[in-house]
Structures are given as structure tokens and as C-alpha cells.
């Protein structure tokens, strides 16, 4: 009787990742490389899990000292990769990083440390008032973020304002999306234009100011 081979889950996933990333280098068609990579990965994982059990050859186990290495590598790589996110403009030329410039100031580091320490301290306690304070702070913060999207701010010289509100204005003008004009952002205009019809006077007054 053959002996079962015990394989670490992370070894399997690392193998699947390596195999699935091959299309990225080979296919070169942006859509297909992405889809193929993820689908291939899933197929390998499922075959290893189900096939291994059915044939009785491979047994996959979850734990192991090196098992978490894959996760840690991805976290670090993910963090480092933020450097690249905003620099790739389609030409492949590195132009700079908003993230790096944002993080490279004293305030960011102090806030980061404060958050980390706060999370560490609170993990020791389970008090309901902390949860309440978190909800209160969270909602307050979301309200501030929402206020950034106040229509008067958006209406400033902006590339995408026009595209977004163009179909709304056409609907307000009595025409119909999908019938009289092309609308590429979806049926949101069916709802939006009613709202704008109701507040349009207020909006015009705001803009005029």
C-alpha cells in the first residue's frame, strides 16, 4: 500500500500561484492573462484537494511553521507594490508615487503609530463603551468623507462631472435614456433626474453663487 504524501496548504497554493502566473508572462492579452491566472489557480487548488482525497495519494494539511510565509510575503509585496500603483500610466514610465509622497510626512507616521497602539491596547479589553465610541467616530468620519462630495465641490472644473450628469440633463430635458440617446453609465438616470428636477432650482442658485 502506498504511503500518503502530506503536503502543506501553503506549498500547494504557492505552486498554484506560480503555475497560474505563467499566463501573465506568456499570454500578453490583458484580459485573458488575468482571467486565466485566477481560473487556473482555482482549478489546481480544487484538483489537489478533491483529486488528492479521491485517489488517496495526497493529503493536504493546513499548519506548519513556514506555512504563513506565503501570506507574509504577499502582505509585504502588497505594501511595497503601492509604490507602483499610481505611477503606471500606460506607457510604463515611472513618474512618481502619491502614496509615497503622502506617507512621507511626520503626521502620517504619528497617526499610523497611534492607530496601531490603539488597536493593540483595545484588543486587551472588551468594553461596550469602546464599541459605541467606534460607531460614533466611524459615522462622524464617514459624514466628513461624504461632505467632500458636496455637489458644489464636484462642480468645479472637472473632467468627469460632465460625463456623469450629461444623461441626467438629457432626461430632465424630456428625452429618454436608451431611446433618444445613448447612455453608457446605466439606468441610474431614471432615478437621478427626478431628484434633480426636484432640487434643480436650489442647485442653480448654488452654482450661481
Amino acid at each position: 500500500m502506498h504511503k500518503k504524501i502530506e503536503v502543506n496548504l501553503q506549498t500547494v497554493s504557492l505552486f498554484a500561484i506560480c503555475v497560474s502566473i505563467v499566463p501573465i508572462a506568456c499570454i500578453r492579452y490583458v484580459f485573458w492573462e488575468y482571467v486565466t491566472a485566477v481560473v487556473l489557480f482555482l482549478i489546481i487548488m480544487l484538483v489537489m484537494l478533491w483529486g488528492g482525497e479521491k485517489t488517496g495519494i495526497v493529503k493536504i494539511k493546513d499548519t506548519g511553521f513556514l506555512s504563513e510565509a506565503v501570506y507574509i510575503i504577499v502582505i509585504i509585496a502588497g505594501f511595497v507594490s503601492f509604490y507602483y500603483t499610481d505611477v503606471y500610466d500606460g506607457t510604463g514610465i515611472v513618474r512618481g508615487s502619491y502614496f509615497i509622497s503622502d506617507i512621507a510626512n511626520r503626521k502620517s507616521i504619528i497617526w499610523a503609530l497611534a492607530f496601531c497602539i490603539m488597536a493593540c491596547i483595545v484588543s486587551k479589553f472588551h468594553i461596550k463603551i469602546i464599541n459605541l465610541a467606534v460607531v460614533f467616530c466611524g459615522l462622524g468620519f464617514i459624514m466628513y468623507v461624504a461632505s467632500i462630495f458636496y455637489t458644489e465641490n464636484i462642480a468645479a472644473y472637472d473632467l468627469h462631472y460632465d460625463a456623469y450628469f450629461y444623461p441626467v440633463c438629457r432626461m430632465m430635458d424630456g428625452e429618454n435614456s436608451y431611446i433618444d440617446f445613448h447612455n453608457i453609465y446605466g439606468g441610474m438616470v431614471f432615478f437621478w433626474h427626478h431628484f434633480y428636477m426636484a432640487v434643480v432650482k436650489i442647485l442653480f442658485e448654488t452654482f450661481r453663487e
Binding site: S20, I24, T85, W111, S147, Y157, H160, Y161, D162, M172
Partner: protein, 429 residues
């Protein structure tokens, strides 16, 4: 717009609050998840807003995901109600925006299929699959109710998918040279999705048929991974930036929080060196989230100021030029912000030419030129639209534009800063 943004981030907060044991981590993660769609994107857009993403394409994936998380953690009685609510939300999400709506519908269906398979309720698996068609049909019916009431006409499927066809032009066959392969966030995103799927698929496999809470958690992870996969695939429609992950990168924060929870579960189960390793993993992830949120807090208060940049000078100059030179109230504006200009001029009517930000194909430029040729009215064109018309496809429309303007219009009046050109019809002279 404020309300939509509030609902969007409120849903993200709900998801984080539900999945985090340590509520402070939920708050820190909320702040971190705001960084990419708000601060980062506003900077990337040159101190402007990308409304087509935030909140337009974010709202339904976030709201539906909140409902999915709520479903996973609720009692059987509530589950039925949330299930129906999710189907209703799917219907409206398809109506709101087809791409994200379809991704949400397929994503939730995959979630329900895996969930019910895990709980050995195969009947519900098939019902959930069938619900995709109900959602699709429902949104089609609602759309037609609107158009029938207003225009007494039915919409064609072709018209509904007009935008998708445009974005997809060349999308599937877009090739790029091997030299541009680099370790970018694009690949890291795939790694995040794959590593999450690896753990989740394994746990679901091990816990199948047991119907426990742990397995449910991992079904949620599969759903989130699928959502990132789907949303990123659709983001590829924006084929001018194939490696731009900004539209989905905020989901990585949610994934990282899920990893923290996985590590927490593992800490409880294990001992010794392994336990310490899980501690390292947990706090490493928390540190990453804290750094992103620290960056967010330090920069968010500058956001409003930067968005007002140049408005004081730009608006009076632009509006002043248009109003001082226009001869009739009905004027065609071909500008990147013409809808806003119509509002400022006190007109609720938009121009009949499609917004120039959406000129993706030569066909659209052709239509605009035909429109200008037919319409008996003056028009203002800004440097953005002018450049698009004269340079598109090696300048093939430049000659058409120049012939038409020379034939029908007076030589243009150019604004002091050179940004605007006003063409008046010859009949005025």
C-alpha cells in the same frame, strides 16, 4: 452625491464592524479603505472626482456585500428576508449600472450556491442559480416600465449594452509587449485574491457538510475574492489604464481584515512557535492597515482645498467669455464640463452632443461633426474637445472639421488663454 457616498462607506463600515472582533481595527480599516477611492483617486484625477467610480460603481457592490455579510451571520428567520432583499438589490444594481450589477448578481449567486452546498441544501442551490435570470428579467422589466411610461417604447437589449460594447472595443484583444511586464500592484492584486481563495477553498473543503460558522466565514471570503476578480475584470474595460487597480484596491483592506480574523482564529487554536507566527502575521497586517489609515487621516483635510484649485480664476474667465460672445441663448458647448456650464448659464437643457469625455470611438466624433453641420447654431469648443477631433486616428477628422467650420462659420474667436474657441454662424454677418 453626499448621501450616496455616505451609504457606500457606511456599508463598508458595517462589513468591517461585523467581521472584526476588535472594533478599533474596524475603525482603522474604515479609514484605510477611504484612502484609495477618495484621496488617492482625487489626486490621480488631477484634483478632481471620478464620479463614475465613486460613488456610482462602488455603491451597489458595497451595499450588497454588507447584506451578504449580514446574511452569513443572521438567524434562519432573518436569512429569508435578507435573501429576498439581496435579490431585490441585485435587480436594482443591474438597473443602476449594468457591469457592476451583473458582477454583484453572479457573485451573490456563487455565494448562495457555495453556502447552500455547504449546508447540504442542494434545492436552494438551484433556486439561487435561477434567481440570476429573475434578477435580469426584473431589471429589464423596470427599465421598460420607465421607457414605456415616458416614451411609449420598449428598449432594445442593444441599447442597454451600448456602453459596454464601446468599452469592450479592442478590450479582449488588447496586447502589450513583454517589456511592460513588471511587478506592479496588478500582480499583487492577483496574489491577494489567490491567497485568500487558497485558504477559503481549503477551509470550505474541510468543513463541508458540518454547517459551522467558521465555514460560513470562508464563504464570505470566496465572495469577496470573487468580487475583486469581477470588478477588476470589468475595470479592464477602461482599456487606457489596463494596470490601474484603483477601482478595486479598497477591497484589499477588507481582505486584510479577513486575514486578521483568520489569524485570530488560528491564535486561539494553536500554541508555541506557531501561535507566535500567527501573532506576527496578525500585527503585520494591522501595521499595514494602520499605515494606510495614518496616511489617509494626515491627508484628508487637504482634499477639499485641492479640489477648489484654479476654480476662482477658471470659472469667471470661461463663463465670461461664453456669455460675452454668445448671440443667442441656444448655443452648443463642446467642453469637458459643458453640463456644468449649462447649469451656470441657467439652462437645465444639456447640449445634444455627447459629452466629450465619452468620445471613445471615431463614430462618436463623426456624429458630433454631423450634428454641428446640421444644427443651425453657434458652438464653443474647448482645447480638450478640439484636440480630440483634430488628432483622433491620425487626424482623419481634422479636415472634415476644418471644411465644415470654414463653410458654415466665421473664423473663430479665441479666448485670451487659448482654451476656448467660439464659432459663429455666417448668417449673423
Amino acid at each position: 452625491m453626499c448621501v450616496l457616498v455616505f451609504i457606500t462607506f457606511g456599508s463598508i463600515f458595517y462589513i468591517l464592524y461585523k467581521i472584526c472582533n476588535n472594533k478599533v481595527i474596524a475603525l482603522v480599516a474604515l479609514v484605510a479603505s477611504v484612502y484609495y477611492p477618495v484621496i488617492f483617486m482625487i489626486k490621480q484625477m488631477g484634483h478632481g472626482y471620478y464620479l463614475q467610480y465613486v460613488p456610482h460603481r462602488m455603491i451597489f457592490p458595497c451595499v450588497i456585500s454588507a447584506a451578504v455579510v449580514s446574511f452569513a451571520g443572521s438567524s434562519i428567520e432573518k436569512k429569508k428576508f435578507i435573501y429576498m432583499l439581496i435579490q431585490l438589490l441585485n435587480m436594482f444594481s443591474i438597473l443602476w449600472n449594468i457591469e457592476t450589477g451583473l458582477i454583484c448578481t453572479v457573485g451573490t449567486t456563487a455565494f448562495f450556491v457555495v453556502y447552500y452546498w455547504l449546508h447540504k441544501q442542494s434545492g436552494y442551490c438551484f433556486v439561487s442559480m435561477g434567481m440570476v435570470f429573475v434578477d435580469l428579467f426584473g431589471s429589464w422589466v423596470i427599465t421598460n416600465l420607465f421607457t414605456l411610461t415616458r416614451a411609449h417604447k420598449l428598449t432594445s437589449i442593444n441599447a442597454m449594452f451600448f456602453g459596454q460594447k464601446q468599452f469592450a472595443g479592442g478590450f479582449l484583444s488588447m496586447e502589450r509587449p513583454f517589456s511592460k511586464v513588471q511587478i506592479s500592484c496588478w500582480f499583487i492584486l492577483i496574489l491577494f485574491v489567490e491567497v485568500t481563495l487558497a485558504r477559503a477553498v481549503y477551509q470550505i473543503y474541510c468543513n463541508r457538510g458540518k454547517g459551522n460558522v467558521l465555514a460560513d466565514k470562508y464563504v464570505v471570503q470566496v465572495y469577496v475574492a470573487f468580487l475583486i476578480f469581477g470588478l477588476q475584470t470589468y475595470a479592464l474595460f477602461k482599456n487606457s489604464h489596463p494596470y490601474n487597480v484603483t477601482p478595486v484596491i479598497y477591497w484589499l483592506v477588507i481582505i486584510m481584515v479577513l486575514w486578521v480574523q483568520n489569524a485570530d482564529d488560528a491564535i486561539k487554536k494553536n500554541a508555541g512557535k506557531l501561535r507566535n507566527l500567527f501573532y506576527v502575521k496578525k500585527w503585520l497586517v494591522v501595521a499595514v492597515i494602520s499605515i494606510i489609515s495614518g496616511t489617509c487621516v494626515a491627508n484628508i483635510f487637504l482634499c477639499k482645498e485641492t479640489c477648489y484649485k484654479n476654480v476662482d480664476g477658471y470659472l469667471p474667465e470661461t463663463l465670461g467669455f461664453i456669455e460675452s460672445h454668445m448671440r443667442e441663448s441656444d448655443i452648443e458647448l463642446l467642453m469637458i464640463n459643458s453640463t456644468y456650464m449649462y447649469c451656470l448659464m441657467g439652462q437645465s437643457t444639456a447640449g445634444r452632443c455627447e459629452s466629450c469625455v465619452d468620445w471613445f470611438e471615431g463614430e462618436q466624433i463623426q456624429k458630433v461633426l454631423e450634428r454641428l453641420d446640421r444644427a443651425e447654431k453657434d458652438f464653443v469648443i474647448d482645447s480638450y474637445a478640439y484636440s480630440l477631433i483634430t488628432t483622433y486616428d491620425n487626424g482623419q477628422y481634422k479636415e472634415v472639421f476644418e471644411n465644415m467650420t470654414q463653410r458654415k462659420f466665421e473664423p473663430p474667436i479665441v479666448s485670451d488663454n487659448g482654451n476656448l474657441r467660439l464659432y459663429s454662424l455666417r448668417r449673423y454677418y
